[in-house]
């Protein structure tokens, strides 16, 4: 049997909006995933370091402060430097449409705004992690 999917749910930067990240964390846990939450006010580098230490399949990074471009860029660079090519980076929060292609180009795999259902997020993660795992095998 597959080992359970491990997810690091993270907040980076100064943004303190943690309603969404906590709701998603609980929903992923209820869906059988192993979820670790970083708490608030981390640098993107600290998030990536935690992801490495916890050996996760997915990082869910939540930002509602408008600083998403700067923060995702740093997180992505840090992941590349650490050679984390098999980890899925997802974004949640308030992300304007015109910024979505920029983030996707950086390598952010899925973006979930206000109104996204937790079921949708669960299914997305299962599908993408499945793809990554079969690619590794």
């Amino acid at each position: 049997m597959d080992r359970p999917i491990r997810v690091l749910m993270a907040k980076a930067g100064l943004d303190g909006h943690d309603r969404g990240v906590k709701v998603v964390a609980r929903a992923l846990r209820d869906a059988g995933m192993e979820v670790i939450y970083t708490g608030l006010h981390n640098t993107p580098e600290q998030v990536v370091k935690a992801a490495l230490q916890e050996d996760v399949d997915v990082i869910g990074l939540s930002i509602l402060s408008g600083a998403h471009l700067a923060i995702f860029k740093k997180a992505m660079n840090s992941m590349k430097q650490s050679g984390m090519t098999d980890v899925l980076l997802l974004g949640g929060g308030i992300i304007p449409d015109e910024d979505k292609p920029i983030l996707e180009q950086m390598g952010v795999k899925g973006l979930f705004g206000p109104g996204a259902s937790t079921q949708e997020i669960v299914e997305f993660i299962r599908r993408e992690v499945q793809k990554l795992r079969s690619a590794v095998l």
Partner: protein, 551 residues
């Protein structure tokens, strides 16, 4: 509540759902009758507007005397841009200013701090030194406006800056009008912006009370806020209970300092959220006034009627806005604003329809302000006071919301062994508030996903994404960050370095000796010390706070 026996006729017209609930998961009955409010005593429980216990409103003529203050929150980019927006809003007929700060300023960091990268001027205006405030209030005489500042950990610095600008303009401090949010307890509970830990944070707030009651008697020294508690996912009852408990905690902290209740209580003000369930919100506002009046008079022995009055600002619920079909948000905001007016608010911010996407554009802000103007001048709802009083439903709901809020407040009191202040500190330390709110948020999300709660355009009446309205959004020029950093650098070069160092040193000494810090912060501000430098001194004395991560 009494259940009513189903008749044969009723069985033939079944109801469209099993449970009817508010957004806060409160069950609503089919019908309310005199039976539900038979205990209600008009004089004791409602009274007349402007009279104890103020259930019907805090002023004898309410909106017939003066309409609520229409106060749109504004702030983005640098102080130049926000100064322009302020002047625009005043020209459009707004009657009070309200300032939003960017994240670094809110967290007490300067624009050149590494954690500030990407956040400078994004969510609000960036302020580092008094130089920025001089630009922000350029051409705005402080004796003619009332200004509200949404600022918490760095509230003492921003308050000092406003006084310093007033001094520069030659305005008598006693004429300064406005509000600083200055509510740290709800930060630890919900909004999560902080610098030093909860206990020294409350000490700083009491410093402001002690200083402000003498120096700026027309200025609201705190806005005890439920808004963010609700946005974090609480129910209406939790919002009310936790906010009033915070209010009582500040009262107890000020009394411990030796302040007289009637000296500071009139300068306390509140800030609530207005969400979608119209009647529940109205009941919440009415219950808030009654609980506060009784607590101040009976529990804390206030004698001055001004101390008993709960005056409040309202903002419509940001968390109710949808990214999908964003123009629908105009209708949501209208209903929420109506609840606030029917609930007797003293001032109101209506959200702009595009705020689930980004900061609002000027056009969206204008519609939001017009919404208030239409309610005020066209609908007639402001023409009589507390028009829903006596409704079986609204009175029963007011009683119910009050009862449930008091249950929570008693629980907090027990947690603190009779002290609400201690109960709130322990509730924060043990994660009680945070857990209650996260649980309510999760329950709500599950109800949305199961369809028990309807959000039009999100889980019902949806349209394909590509057909959705595209709305223009406001973009912050990254140039702002560079410009702010440069200005800060210039100020640091030009100011009298010895005066700054001296002022910061004296502040540190005062903080260590537990003296009132306000006069020292004002001195530092006038010497052009930055927000970050001043907050750093306080962090050095009291340590930094980090919340334990819990889900």
């Amino acid at each position: 509540m009494k259940t009513h026996v189903q008749t044969e006729r009723e069985k033939k017209s079944p109801e469209r759902r099993e449970r009817f609930i508010t957004v806060s998961n409160e069950e609503i009955a089919r019908l309310y009758t005199p039976e539900e409010i038979k205990e209600l005593d008009y004089e004791r429980d409602l009274g007349y507007p402007g009279e104890y216990p103020y259930t019907r409103g805090v002023y004898p003529t309410m909106y017939r005397g003066r309409l609520w203050t229409m106060r749109q929150f504004a702030g983005f980019g640098g102080p130049e841009e926000t100064n322009q927006r302020f002047k625009y809003l005043l020209k459009e007929g707004q009657t009070g200013l309200s300032t939003a700060f960017d994240m670094p300023t809110l967290m007490g960091l300067d624009s050149d701090h590494p954690l500030a990268d990407g956040e400078v001027g994004v969510e609000g205006v960036a302020i580092a030194t008094l130089r920025d405030f001089e630009i922000l209030f350029d051409g705005i005489p402080l004796d003619r406006v009332s200004t509200s500042f949404t600022i918490n950990p760095s509230a003492p610095v921003i308050y000092a800056m406003y006084i310093a600008i007033g001094d520069q303009q030659g305005v008598d401090r006693k004429k300064l009008r406005g509000t600083i949010q200055n509510d740290m307890l709800k930060e630890f509970i919900a909004q999560k912006e902080w610098v030093v830990p909860p206990r020294p944070s409350v000490d700083l707030i009491v410093d402001i009370f002690e200083f402000g009651i003498k120096e700026t008697p027309k200025f609201n020294l705190i806005s005890i806020s439920g808004y963010h508690i609700r946005e974090a996912g609480s129910t209406a009852v939790q919002e009310l209970a936790f906010t009033l408990a915070d209010g009582m905690a500040y009262v107890e902290a000020a009394l411990q300092r030796g302040l007289e209740i009637d000296e500071f209580a009139p300068q306390l003000s509140f800030f609530f959220n207005s969400h979608n369930s119209l009647f529940e919100e109205i009941a919440k506002f009415r219950a808030a006034r009654r609980i506060w009046a009784r607590a101040l008079r009976e529990r804390y022995g206030a004698q001055n009627p001004e101390s008993w009055k709960l005056r409040f600002h309202t903002q419509t619920a940001g968390c109710s806005l949808t990214e999908q079909q964003p123009l629908n948000n105009i209708i949501r905001v209208t209903l929420q604003a109506l609840a606030a007016v029917l609930g007797g608010t003293q001032s109101l911010h209506t959200n702009s329809y595009d705020e689930a996407l980004a900061l609002p554009t000027e056009e969206a802000v204008r519609i939001a302000l017009r919404t208030q103007q239409i309610i005020a001048y066209e609908s007639g709802v402001a023409d009589t006071i507390d028009p829903l009083a006596g409704s079986y439903f609204v009175e029963a709901l007011t009683n119910e919301v009050e009862r449930k809020a008091l249950e929570y407040i008693h629980k907090i009191e027990r947690l603190g062994h009779g002290s609400i202040l201690e109960g709130v500190f322990r509730g924060i330390e043990q994660g009680f508030f945070q857990r209650e709110i996260a649980q309510a948020a999760y329950e709500y999300q599950k109800q949305v996903e199961s369809g028990e709660q309807t959000i039009v355009g999100v889980n019902k009446y949806t349209i394909p994404r590509e057909q959705d309205q595209k709305v223009p959004t406001l973009k912050i020029d990254p140039e702002v960050q560079r410009r702010q950093i440069e200005r800060l650098k210039r100020v640091r070069e030009e100011r009298d370095a010895r005066a700054v160092a001296g002022a910061l040193h004296r502040l540190e000494e005062a903080a260590r000796r537990r003296q009132n810090t306000m006069p020292y912060i004002l001195e530092a501000v006038k010497a052009y010390a930055s927000v970050g430098e001043i907050m750093e001194v306080l962090k050095k004395v009291h340590g930094a706070y980090r919340e334990p991560a819990m889900v």
